[in-house]
Structure formats: structure tokens, C-alpha cells
């Protein structure tokens, strides 16, 4: 029972981190109709900038400044890159962000090299917050949970309760009308893109010390983020939240319990073949849940797409 609780917390941390990325991505998607392939690259930039700043000014300044820089870069990419490519249509836009992701990875390797950076958890948070029957929960995890939830509540508040949020929401559905009312719609788009990438930056700053800061970190998370918003339903903030938590928990539980496929198959009445070594399907019998933990989200996505193509919370038209 205690192990379940520990796993629930671990899964929550992973899920909320994933949510911070997918929230920005889904916001940008519902705004421009384009999936920003380079989203995870901005997450990586967040971690690298934060590392560089934390050397000189400490972790907290990094947490404050790095997302700002990432957001400004994101806004610049929208203004000078995406807006230009927009005239050619959606597919070139997607290809543009794909190329951007490649380029950012190369740039990061160019500046910081190929090795993992020694980006550390700050001293203040480097202690055990509490323990559940011998399994200690580090304070940094608690901090990650709190900061993610705070950002989610803040985002929800701005989007639904403030005037700015109203204008943004209106601009998503009726850009012409909003423009006619005297609002600068391209500026709004640029702002939302900047905020979305800044959110990815925040995720990078707080994930960098625990998941490692290395040039492949965008690649590791990149496709999982897409899987998340496809499962949740494209453009749905709540869907992104549910899917992130689902993926976080599924992978965490699959990793911590060593379930063998053989046992499952025996359990449903299929007996193990005698000469396993010769069988083409021998790998299906020997596989264990930690082995497939990382591909479970993809399997989930394919299943969702077959049975509910518009995702968990998406509407049919998306």
C-alpha cells in the first residue's frame, strides 16, 4: 500500500511535468492550428539557460530569468519564422518547426557540447521532505508538484477570468471580429506563442536537475508530449492534464512492478510453449513490464486513435 502511495507521487511529478509541456503546446495548437514540433526544444533551452544562469546567479534567478529568455526567443521565432511560413500552408509550418527542432539540438551541441551538464538541485531543496515507510520523498519533488499546480491554476485563472484571457479566447475562434474591435491579433498570437514556449522553459528549468541536462533531452520528451495531447484530444487543456497524469502513472507503475507477460498469458489460459527458443514469438513470452514501460504511451495512443480518434476530451471536428 505504501509503495502504491510512493508511485502515485512519482507518477504525479512526471505527469505534471508532462502537463506543463503539453499545456503550452496545446495552447499554441488551438491558436495557430499548428503543432510546434520544436516545443520540447524550448524545454531543453530552458534547462540549458537555467544551468548557465545558475552558475553565476544561483538556481532561483535561473528559474525566474531562463523562462523569460525562452519566451522571448519563442516570440521571435513566431514573428520572424512561423509568420513568414504561414502563407505557404500548414504542412510547411509543421516542417518548419521540425527543422527548428533539429537546428536547436545542433546549436545546443555547438555551444555546450555533447556531454551531460552538471546541473544540480539547489542546496535549499536538497533534503528529504517526508518518508513513507522507509521510502523517502525528496523535497525537490514536492517543490515540483507545487510549482506545476500553481502554474496550472494561474493559467486557468488568466484564461477564464481576466480580460486578457477573454480576448485570447475570442481571438482563437474569431480572429477577424477581434481585429475589427481594435485588438492587435498578430501581437496576441505572438504573445501566446511566447507564453507557451516560456511554459516549456519553466518545465525545462525544474526538470533539468532531475532528468539530466543533455542534448538529447528534447528528443526523449518530444514525441511523448505529442502522444499526450493526441490522447487528451488536440486543443483541450483538460484533456492534456488527464492524459499527462495518465501517462505519468502508467509508466511509473509499469516500471516499479515487475509483471511478466508470461504470467498474464498463463493467467488467461494460454500455456507457455515448450520449445520457446525456436518460436518466432518468444519475445512476447519473456517481456516484462519495466521493459515496455516507455512504449506504453504509444500503445495507448494507437488504441485511442483506433477507438476514439478525436482523443479523450477532443471534439469530433478537431
Amino acid at each position: 500500500m505504501d509503495l502504491v502511495l510512493v508511485n502515485l507521487i512519482d507518477g504525479l511529478v512526471t505527469g505534471l511535468l508532462l502537463f506543463m509541456l503539453s499545456a503550452g503546446l496545446t495552447l499554441i495548437f488551438s491558436m495557430m492550428g499548428v503543432l510546434n514540433f520544436a516545443h520540447a526544444s524550448f524545454y531543453m533551452l530552458g534547462a540549458y539557460f537555467a544551468y548557465q544562469i545558475s552558475i553565476a546567479l544561483g538556481f532561483w534567478m535561473g528559474l525566474l530569468v531562463a523562462p523569460l529568455i525562452v519566451g522571448v526567443i519563442g516570440a521571435g521565432v513566431e514573428r520572424y519564422g512561423l509568420r513568414r511560413v504561414h502563407q505557404y500552408g500548414h504542412v510547411p509550418e509543421l516542417i518548419f518547426t521540425f527543422g527548428l527542432a533539429l537546428l536547436i539540438e545542433e546549436l545546443v551541441q555547438f555551444i555546450w557540447g555533447k556531454n551531460q551538464l552538471p546541473y544540480q538541485i539547489p542546496e535549499v531543496l536538497n533534503f528529504t521532505a517526508f518518508a513513507i515507510s522507509g521510502n523517502s520523498i525528496p523535497a525537490y519533488k514536492v517543490f515540483m508538484i507545487f510549482i506545476s499546480i500553481a502554474i496550472f491554476i494561474g493559467l486557468l485563472y488568466v484564461l477564464t477570468k481576466t480580460r486578457v484571457g477573454m480576448i485570447i479566447q475570442a481571438a482563437l475562434s474569431y480572429p477577424r471580429t477581434v481585429e475589427a474591435l481594435g485588438h492587435n491579433v498578430p501581437l496576441i498570437f505572438m504573445g501566446v506563442f511566447g507564453v507557451g514556449t516560456a511554459l516549456a522553459g519553466v518545465a525545462g528549468v525544474i526538470a533539468g536537475p532531475v532528468l539530466g541536462t543533455f542534448p538529447g533531452m528534447a528528443f526523449v520528451l518530444g514525441s511523448i508530449v505529442f502522444v499526450t495531447i493526441v490522447i487528451g484530444g488536440l486543443g483541450s487543456l483538460w484533456g492534456a492534464l488527464v492524459a499527462s497524469l495518465l501517462i505519468g502513472w502508467i509508466t511509473t507503475f509499469a516500471k516499479s512492478y515487475n509483471i511478466r507477460m508470461e504470467d498474464i498469458l498463463n493467467g488467461i489460459g494460454i500455456s507457455t510453449p515448450e520449445n520457446l527458443g525456436d518460436s518466432m514469438f518468444r519475445d512476447i513470452w519473456t517481456v516484462t513490464s519495466p521493459q515496455i514501460a516507455d512504449i506504453l504511451p504509444y500503445i495507448l495512443m494507437v488504441l485511442i486513435l483506433i477507438f476514439r480518434p478525436y482523443g479523450l476530451f477532443g471534439n469530433r471536428d478537431a
Binding site: 504542412v91 527543422g99 500503445i299 486513435l305
Partner: protein, 441 residues
């Protein structure tokens, strides 16, 4: 909804009808193919070097794969981020056929890629049954997810994918084909060249069939295609499985050429490379991917010998293409057709030289700066010597930096000065002399 520019793309232009394929026009239509065939025959006599043949083999395989990819992206409007999977699975299937010694001993090697094609097609049928329901973003996402899934399976399903080290085999166990045992690179070259011609021709003919034409219609306006009575889903599905078939053939040829297939052949990076190749060449024209594959393979083999940063340059080139020349290299070439038709292309040569030479020098200067920065940051302590453009110098002194910066700035300044001349020349070359109509391409 309807965009006049896009409508022009669907409706067949009466001035250049598809009927050219028939009777009288057949000789003209066949000309490029005959030339290409002769070219492929002669190439090994010009570049006799073994490494050159290796590069050409690589190029030919990439061409088939890129053409197959363009069936989706260019002709069908489906952006796939996981197309390497079909080539990879085709390659793995061929590897397993190779290891079935009894069966393989009866089989002439040139037939082997067919197995790869059929396996690629079979997989495309399974995946396509649910992924071709929609095009655009959703299709792109599904292709990415499925690609990642299958690539990840390669580590788990060891029996088929061979785990980390992949699957290897020996092509010479096949039944000799008219006495040829495919021991030498050159024999493999002709095998690949044969398959290149065959599959390129088939893919071209496919693009001329009603279903290939409908793929274009579905790309541009699926709703309208539906009203014409075509199911856009089935049209996409057919394009998808044919593309899977030819990707599988490319994979099979890869297996024959390298005699090893690994996880690398189906991961996302390979899928990304083929997207890059195709888009660089240009998706709007059938021959675009061919140019892209040739250019990219040269870039990869030649540039990667010169610099560690070749992937960085490739990335910059790719982004520049997407932003400034969405038609790719083929689109850039085709822009000059109106000028040539008007007989005024020769007027462009001098302005082009005047702009492009400074631009080239500027780019070289810039890349020298990039190389020097890289060396300055990453060279081991004490290793201050570096070589750029056959000049060796100390990257920690001021002089080389000053020279590189000066060259870059001056070259780009000259290029900027020359740009208006080029623009006037361009407008002039694209204007018919009698009337003021014609306009830029």
C-alpha cells in the same frame, strides 16, 4: 474555402495535357527515362573508384525512398514522421529471407527487394487502415507515434529486429543470376540501378493514373473530391500502401548493399532525414526528390569528411529552404522555365554571377567564423592550431578573426549592392517583349 491558386493545381491545364503519354507524344515522354538509364549505365565508367560507387549506391537507394516518400507528402499531402519504418521493416524482412538458407539458395538476388516491398506494403496496409482516415496534423501525429512504437519494439522483439546489433546476412548465398554472384560493389550497383529505374518509372506511372491524380485532388481539397464521388480515405489509403511498397523496396536494397539492418534504419532520425531530403529537393515536382537525394547524399558524404558540424549546416540549409524556397531546389529550377521559354535566360547569367559569387564568399566566410567559434570553445587545452579552407592558423589570435569577419561583411555588402540589378534583370527576363504581360514566376 476555395483558393484560386490551389484550384489551378487540380484542374488539368489544357495547354499541357496528360495525353502527352499517348501515341505521338510517347517519344518525348520517354526521352528523360532513356537519358537517365544511359546515365546510370555510364556512371561507373566515369567514377570507377570503389568509394564513389558506394556513394552512388547510397544515392540510388535514397532516391527510391525519397520518391516513395514524396508519393505521400508531395502528391497526397500527407506529412509522415515515421516513414523510415516501412523501409526498415522491408530491410529486416529481406535480411530474414537471406538467412532462410534453403529458400534463399533457390532465389536470384535481384528478386529479393520484392519481399521487402511486400512486407513494407503489408505493414502500410495495417497502419494505413486507421491512419489515413485524416490527413494533415492528425496523420502526422499518428505516423510519429507508430514510428516511435515500432522503433522501440526493435529493442524488445529481438527475434525479428535483432536487438541492439541488428540483423546481418550474406547476399552471396543467393542463386547466381546468369552467373553473377554479386561479390563486387559494381554488380550490386547495377542491381540497384535496375531497381531504381523500375521503381521510379512505376511511381511516375502511378502518379499519372486516375488514383494518382485523385491523390492530388484530395490533397488540395478533400471535400470537393468527396463530392466528385471519390472516397478521400481510400485514395489516401492506396497512396499510402504504394508508398509503403516502394519504401520497402528501398529498404530491401539497403539490406543487399550493406548486408546489415539495424534499429537505426527505422528510428525517428531516419524518418526525419528522408523528410529533409524530399523537402530540400522540392515536393511540387516528380523529379524534386531525386535532386534532393543526390544533393543531400553528396552533402552528407563530402561535407561530413570536412567538418564535424555538417548536421548544423544541413539544419540551417533546411530551415532556409522552408522559409525562403518552399518549392525546394526543383521549384528554384522551374522558376526559370518562363525566362527560358521567352528566350531571355541568357540575360540573367551576368547578374547571377555578380550576386552569387559574393554571396558564396560571404557564406564561406560565415562558416569559417562558425568553425573558428566551435574550435575556440571545444578544442582541448593547448590545441590552438586549426585548419579552415586549407589554411592553418591559431584560433586564439586576433588576425584570423579579423580576416574572416572582414571577408564576410564585405562579401555580403557587395551582394546587397548587386541585388537590385538582379531584380531588374529578373523582371526583364520574365517579361514578354511585345506585351507588358507575363510577370514573375
Amino acid at each position: 474555402m476555395s483558393n484560386p491558386m490551389k484550384e489551378n493545381q487540380i484542374t488539368t491545364d489544357p495547354t499541357k495535357p496528360a495525353q502527352r503519354m499517348r501515341a505521338g507524344g510517347l517519344r518525348i515522354a520517354a526521352m528523360p527515362w532513356v537519358i537517365a538509364g544511359l546515365f546510370l549505365l555510364v556512371m561507373p565508367f566515369i567514377f570507377t573508384d570503389n568509394s564513389a560507387i558506394t556513394i552512388m549506391n547510397q544515392m540510388a537507394i535514397t532516391i527510391i525512398f525519397a520518391l516513395a516518400y514524396n508519393m505521400l507528402l508531395g502528391q497526397g499531402g500527407m506529412l509522415s514522421f515515421g516513414h523510415a519504418v516501412y523501409a526498415g521493416v522491408g530491410g529486416f524482412a529481406c535480411m530474414h529471407v537471406m538467412s532462410m538458407t534453403d529458400f534463399f539458395a533457390l532465389l536470384p538476388l535481384p528478386v529479393l527487394p520484392l519481399f521487402g516491398g511486400l512486407f513494407g506494403m503489408g505493414l502500410a496496409m495495417i497502419i494505413g487502415s486507421f491512419s489515413t482516415r485524416s490527413a494533415g496534423t492528425v496523420f502526422a501525429m499518428i505516423s510519429l507515434g507508430v514510428g516511435e512504437l515500432i522503433a522501440a519494439c526493435s529493442v524488445i522483439i529481438v527475434a525479428f529486429f535483432g536487438g541492439e546489433e541488428g540483423v546481418s546476412g550474406d547476399r552471396t548465398y543467393a542463386n547466381p543470376f546468369f552467373g553473377v554472384e554479386f561479390l563486387h560493389q559494381i554488380e550490386v550497383y547495377y542491381l540497384i540501378a535496375f531497381w531504381l529505374m523500375l521503381s521510379a518509372l512505376l511511381m511516375y506511372l502511378f502518379s499519372r493514373t486516375p488514383i494518382g491524380r485523385m491523390a492530388n485532388a484530395v490533397r488540395d481539397n478533400p471535400e470537393r473530391a468527396e463530392f466528385l464521388g471519390y472516397s478521400s480515405r481510400w485514395v489516401r489509403f492506396y497512396s499510402f500502401i504504394f508508398s509503403g511498397f516502394f519504401a520497402g523496396i528501398a529498404g530491401g536494397l539497403f539490406a543487399i548493399n550493406y548486408e546489415i539492418v539495424t534499429e537505426e534504419n527505422l528510428n525517428t532520425a531516419s524518418s526525419g532525414v528522408i523528410l529533409l531530403v524530399t523537402f530540400l529537393g522540392g515536393v511540387g515536382f516528380f523529379f524534386g526528390p531525386i535532386i534532393g537525394a543526390i544533393a543531400f547524399t553528396l552533402l552528407q558524404t563530402v561535407l561530413s569528411l570536412q567538418t564535424e558540424l555538417w548536421a548544423f549546416y544541413a539544419g540551417v540549409l533546411f530551415l532556409a529552404t522552408v522559409m525562403f524556397f518552399p518549392g525546394g531546389l526543383a521549384g528554384l529550377l522551374m522558376m526559370h522555365v518562363p525566362a527560358i521559354r521567352l528566350g531571355k535566360a541568357s540575360g540573367l547569367i551576368v547578374p547571377y554571377l555578380k550576386t552569387l559569387i559574393p554571396a558564396l564568399i560571404g557564406i564561406l566566410g560565415l562558416s569559417a567564423l562558425v568553425e573558428m567559434t566551435f574550435h575556440f570553445r571545444h578544442a582541448s587545452v593547448g590545441d590552438e592550431e586549426m585548419t579552415v579552407f586549407w589554411t592553418t592558423f591559431d584560433s586564439h589570435t586576433v588576425l584570423p578573426w579579423a580576416v574572416a569577419i572582414a571577408v564576410t561583411v564585405v562579401a555580403f555588402a557587395i551582394m546587397r549592392m548587386m541585388l537590385p540589378t538582379l531584380r531588374t534583370a529578373w523582371a526583364e527576363a520574365n517579361t514578354a517583349s511585345s506585351t507588358s504581360q507575363g510577370g514573375a514566376a
